[in-house]
């Protein structure tokens, strides 16, 4: 790592950047314009957030608060857990533990930092990680391995069995930092009694782990309250996701990012409820008027991102979609599979219910909720089995009138690269043009944004989509 980077605390840098950004829209237009002059590198991000009206401002405030919580955890006597995006943080919040979600922080840093998080990614390799491991963890994780972030107290991940590469990164971090580690492990099946029981047992053990490492007992009243808030938030997300079915989609591409970033990082928090409510109000107004959420107001194409988005510097990907008139109908990242959601009803047996009547019921609820978050649901078993990735993709693409499907991931994703070719052939056989992006969603050095854009343009042109 370059020595000058080691002079700065990464959490502090990001926290202060976001705090300042969140304050900008509160000023006059002249003040905002002046402030933008001091943002040479992430002008595009700032523009996207500021131009999204109140939802953009709420998103900035939420992200700023997220970092503030990390930065003040120590002085408030709270423990910090390093965790993954496909794990609901509600259970940590119930124990007053502050989560540091590597993937969310990597995406955020990648969007706003001039050189992305390349230095931090490389630092992970400097200290031993393989260079082929997933960049989504390596980004922010590098800062923590270099002790340039707040000190992690313990590590919890829930990806063994669904994404061993992800689990391996967390296991590496725990070993390298010599911190306690707990892994929730997933069998390949979902929804059967045996795997449900396994989840329940696994979560009980995790709670024991958390109690041991925090010195606190689980506060079930607080957990119940949090689950109820999360459920309300999921309902709001469900309403927003239903808007993806409208033609044109009334929301800008940024909204989907806001939905899942908030859920991964801040579910159960008021700031996230405010963001969702603001987005919903904005989207409803647009929908009533039959307006597209795109800047041009004209929707030319509807694409479903069957895996993740592309988090390059300055939100290039979102700007590209907006400029080309492409509305995304979401990705797997925002889908939660609460049994009342529209798509869950299309995939029989895929959903979960909420029950806070007893500690056992709450643990089961959290376990079932987590078992249906991105990755741990869609790509845990063979992609072509019941309720797995293929069925889910086809159901959502059909419901949302997608005209094409785009796969984007990272070269570190063994899980999806292990079968994306036959998966895409199956989708093509169902009539959907599919584009497999060969870039790294978090690392522009793998394929430059210019090349990625050219390849996307080529796909849309050759397949007669645009």
């Amino acid at each position: 790592m370059r020595p000058e980077l080691k002079e700065y605390n990464y959490d502090w840098m990001m926290g202060k950047t976001l705090k300042a950004a969140a304050m900008v829209p509160g000023g006059t237009q002249k003040e905002t314009d002046l402030a933008l002059k001091y943002l040479p590198y992430y002008h595009g991000v700032a523009d996207a957030f500021f131009n999204a009206g109140d939802p953009g401002i709420q998103l900035l405030k939420m992200l700023s608060q997220y970092y503030e919580n990390i930065l003040t955890a120590r002085e408030k006597g709270k423990k910090i857990v390093a965790t993954t995006f496909c794990q609901t943080p509600a259970i940590f919040y119930a124990m007053d533990v502050v989560p540091v979600t590597f993937e969310v922080l990597t995406a955020l840093g990648g969007l706003v930092w001039k050189r992305g998080l390349f230095d931090y990614m490389d630092y992970c390799c400097e200290v031993g990680m393989s260079e082929t491991s997933c960049s989504s963890q390596r980004g922010a994780m590098g800062a923590y391995l270099a002790r340039l972030g707040e000190e992690i107290d313990f590590v919890v991940c829930d990806t063994p069995g669904v994404c061993d590469t992800n689990a391996n990164a967390f296991s590496f971090a725990a070993t390298y930092l010599d911190k306690p580690y707990y892994q929730l492990n997933y069998p390949s099946t979902l929804g059967d009694d045996r795997s449900e029981k396994y989840h329940l047992d696994d979560y009980k053990e995790m709670i024991k782990f958390l109690e041991k490492n925090t010195g606190k007992k689980m506060d079930y009243d607080r957990l119940a309250a949090l689950i109820k808030i999360v459920d309300q938030q999921d309902e709001l997300i469900g309403e927003l996701e239903d808007m993806f079915m409208l033609v044109p989609v009334p929301m800008p591409p940024l909204f989907n990012l806001a939905m899942y970033a908030g859920r991964f990082a801040f579910c159960g928090h008021e700031a996230f409820t405010r963001l969702l409510s603001s987005m919903l109000e904005w989207a409803r107004t647009q929908a009533k008027q039959g307006h597209s959420g795109l800047k041009s107001g004209k929707e030319k194409l509807r694409a479903y991102m069957c895996y993740i988005d592309h988090y390059t510097v300055d939100m290039n990907f979102w700007h590209y979609l907006d400029e080309r008139g492409i509305a995304t109908v979401g990705s797997i990242l925002s889908r939660n599979f609460r049994d009342i959601s529209t798509y869950a009803q299309f995939l029989e047996g895929s959903g979960y219910g909420v029950d806070v009547s007893s500690p056992e019921a709450m643990i089961d609820t959290i376990a079932q909720m987590n078992a249906r978050l991105p990755m741990v649901r869609s790509i845990r078993g063979p992609y072509d089995k019941r309720n797995m990735w293929l069925e889910e993709t086809l159901a959502i693409a059909k419901l949302c009138h997608a005209q094409c499907i785009i796969y984007n991931g990272t070269p570190g994703c063994r899980n999806t690269w292990g079968m994306v070719k036959p998966f895409s052939r199956d989708l093509e056989n169902q009539g959907y043009p599919v584009h497999i992006m060969n870039d790294d969603a978090f690392d522009d050095r793998v394929e430059s944004w210019d090349s990625t854009r050219e390849r996307l343009d080529e796909f849309f042109q050759v397949r007669g989509l645009l």
């Binding site: 031993g128 063994p160 391996n168 296991s171 590496f172 892994q183 292990g418 060969n438």
Partner: protein
């Protein structure tokens, strides 16, 4: 030694051919977490699947994406070419992400290449933890596997038969332990290549025949003179490796001898016999799941490091080659931690990233090994 060498340098060796000719069944499996005793008890020959003899990758690459380890790709390539046509069944294990995706890729390749997917094509869901509920899951998984074998092949796997199979496999384990003791001697009398061949042979030969041959070979070894010249004593660890030529590359024409390894095809369970008393399924489950040596069992680095230290001390290891197949992040990253901790204890380490299969990059690897050997005083 020729017997073992012949057995491990071909996918379908003579013993497998003879077994098939006698009308008996063969099942292939993909990971060391499968208890082969179960198939043995059913009168079926369990064969650990290997990707050797690959001469192209057009089938492997057609289904797997580009960022995938070459081991499952080689397996798929050979399956697509019909090289596993002797199999009556296949058991896929989620050893890692790439290996579990062999399930879909093989099945999908079967849509384009007729007859490459055996009728019995099953999945064996090995958990990543051995704590209580993980063990319970694994025990149930073994019971389910037995039921599926019985149903498909019309056999009965009784407790008595399982105990007999465990006894037979234990005989081999005792013999391998003796081999390990021999190679730990100061004046080592057997090459790592020979030991590795003998070990891999245990995964592809009928067990009784293997045990007999191992006994004969041990008799021969005990009267053998030490290897000529002073040797630098190495250990090889890391990703899956079953290529004899990798060991030959390390030992031939150098002053190195591999005196220990920690590989899933190598001697990892030596001396660790399975109890024959009590519930044989529980005994098998404990042996295969609790003896955690693969980084797929996350969070157990310290146990694995302790195992390496013990081997290094016992065999007088002077240097460790930490190899990983490209895109094998589990071993690749753990090798980084091993390097940090072993070098801190004064043990030289060489991290070596490579491709699985025919050694096409011999020059580069040889150069690095030679340089490493020079480093070892």
């Amino acid at each position: 030694m020729h017997f073992f060498y012949d057995a491990v340098t071909r996918i379908e060796n003579h013993a497998i051919t003879r077994w098939k000719q006698s009308g008996k069944k063969v099942v292939g499996y993909t990971c060391s977490y499968v208890p082969p005793e179960i198939f043995h008890a059913a009168g079926i020959l369990p064969v650990r699947l290997r990707g050797i003899e690959t001469d192209g990758m057009e089938i492997g690459d057609a289904y797997f994406g580009p960022f995938i380890c070459s081991f499952p790709k080689c397996l798929l390539q050979q399956a697509g070419k019909g090289e596993f046509s002797f199999l009556d069944g296949v058991l896929i294990i989620p050893g890692c992400d790439a290996m579990r995706r062999l399930d879909e890729c093989w099945r999908k390749a079967g849509e384009d290449h007729q007859g490459i997917v055996p009728t019995w094509f099953e999945y064996f869901d090995v958990p990543h933890k051995s704590e209580v509920h993980g063990m319970n899951w694994f025990v149930q998984e073994i019971r389910n596997l037995i039921e599926r074998i019985e149903r498909q092949f019309g056999v009965s796997v009784t407790g008595t038969a399982l105990r007999e199979s465990i006894r037979e496999y234990n005989r081999g384990r005792r013999l391998l332990k003796t081999v390990e003791t021999l190679r730990a001697e100061k004046n080592v009398r057997v090459s790592g290549t020979d030991v590795f061949s003998a070990t891999i042979a245990g995964t592809v030969l009928p067990r009784e025949e293997y045990t007999r041959q191992l006994e004969k070979w041990l008799e021969d070894l005990s009267g053998r003179d030490p290897l000529e010249g002073e040797k630098k004593r190495l250990m090889v660890i890391g990703s899956i490796a079953d290529e004899i030529d990798l060991f030959q590359l390390i030992e031939n024409g150098t002053d190195a001898v591999v005196v220990a390894e920690n590989l899933c095809f190598g001697v990892r369970y030596e001396g660790n016999e399975i109890p024959v008393n009590g519930d044989p399924i529980l005994s098998l489950a404990r042996h295969y799941l609790e003896t955690s040596v693969c980084p797929r069992m996350f969070g157990k680095y310290k146990q694995r490091l302790a195992l390496l230290r013990e081997k290094i001390e016992r065999a007088g290891v002077e240097g460790v080659i930490l190899q990983n197949i490209r895109f094998c992040d589990l071993h690749g990253s753990e090798n980084g931690l091993f390097q940090r901790d072993l070098e801190a204890e004064g043990i030289p380490c060489l991290r070596l990233e490579r491709e699985y299969g025919p050694l096409k990059e011999t020059g580069r690897i040889k150069l690095r090994i030679d340089a490493f050997l020079e480093q070892i005083a």
